[in-house]
Symmetry: C2
Subunit: 167 residues, 2 copies
C-alpha cells in the first residue's frame, strides 16, 4: 500500500539512517570498497510498514534480522544501497518531501557523497578521502555522536554476516 509521502518523511526522520560504509576489499583497485546505504529498521512484527515504505519510495530490499542469540526480538530492515536507486529514486523523493529534523543534515551530506559516486570519484584516492571527510561529519549527527552503526540505538548489537536472510 502506498503511503502519504509526508508520512514517510516523518517516519524516516525518526527511524531512518543515511550512512557511508568504507571497508577494506583486497579485490578492488585501491584495496578499498566504498558504498552508500540508506536503512530503516523496525521490529519484525512491524514489517508491513516497511513494505509500504518500500512501495512508496519505489526501491529497496527488505531483510529479516535474527537477533535470537542477543535475546532480542527479530527485526526487519529496509535497505537501499544501489547507487542508481539512491540517485534516481531515494534522493528525489526526499528532495520533494523534505526531512525536517536534524536528520536532514545527514541527508544533505549523503547527497554530497552520492555526487562523488556519480562522478566515479569513489574509485580514486582523492574521492575516498572526500568520502571519509563527509562520513566524519555525518557521524556527528548520530545518536552516540560518532560511533557508526546501522541504527545507533543504545546497546543494539550489529547484525553479523550470515544472520540476515533476504526475504
Amino acid at each position: 500500500m502506498k503511503l502519504p509521502p509526508d508520512y514517510v518523511s516523518g517516519f524516516i526522520d525518526g527511524e531512518g539512517s543515511f550512512f557511508i560504509v568504507i571497508s577494506k576489499h583486497p579485490q578492488k583497485r585501491l584495496g578499498i570498497d566504498a558504498r552508500l546505504t540508506f536503512a530503516v529498521e523496525v521490529r519484525d512484527d512491524d514489517i508491513e510498514i516497511l513494505e509500504s515504505i518500500r512501495e512508496t519510495l519505489g526501491c529497496g530490499i527488505i531483510y529479516r534480522l535474527d537477533y535470537k542469540r542477543y535475546g532480542w526480538f527479530p527485526h526487519a530492515l529496509l535497505k537501499v544501497s544501489s547507487i542508481g536507486e539512491i540517485r534516481n529514486k531515494l534522493i528525489p523523493f526526499f528532495v520533494e518531501h523534505p526531512l525536517r529534523a536534524k536528520k536532514r543534515l545527514s541527508f544533505k551530506l549523503f547527497c554530497q557523497a552520492a555526487e562523488i559516486f556519480a562522478q566515479k570519484m569513489h574509485l580514486t584516492e582523492e574521492g575516498i578521502a572526500k568520502l571519509r571527510e563527509i562520513q566524519k561529519q555525518m557521524n556527528q549527527y548520530g545518536k552516540k555522536g560518532g560511533i557508526p552503526s546501522v541504527r545507533q540505538g543504545a546497546g543494539k548489537p550489529r547484525a553479523r554476516r550470515g544472520e540476515n536472510s533476504v526475504k
Copy 2:
C-alpha cells in the same frame, strides 16, 4: 512552524509513545492515581522538531531531560497528559491523520482508556481494573514486549523526579 500533518503521524509512528500510568497516591480516594500520557523524546539538539510538532498538534509541554550522570546526551521530551487536551486535540488529530505502523494498535487502546477517563470511571475500582487490563495489552506492543517505560529503548535510563526541568 506547523508541519504537514502526515509528517507528524509518520514521526510519531516511529518515535512516539502512548501509555497509561497507574501509581499509588495516598491522597486520592482509592489510594491510586491513574493518568494517560502521550510522549515523544528526541536528543536535545533536535528540540526544534518537537516545538514544531507541539505547534501542529496544538498541545503539549516540552521538558528537558539531563542524562548527564548516565553519560547520555541531554534529551527533550514533548508530553501531553491533560485529559482535556488528549480528548480534544491529540485524539482527533490522529483520527484524522492516522498512524499506520503497529503503534496504531497502542493508539486504539489509548482511545479506549480516554473514554474511561471521560466517564470519570478512573475514579472507581472497576475503572482502574479496566485501565490495568488495557495497560497490559498496550505493553505487549512495546519494544520489549511488556516492560513499561517512557520510551522503551534498550538500556535507556528512566528520568527521575527532579532531573527534568520544565522549559
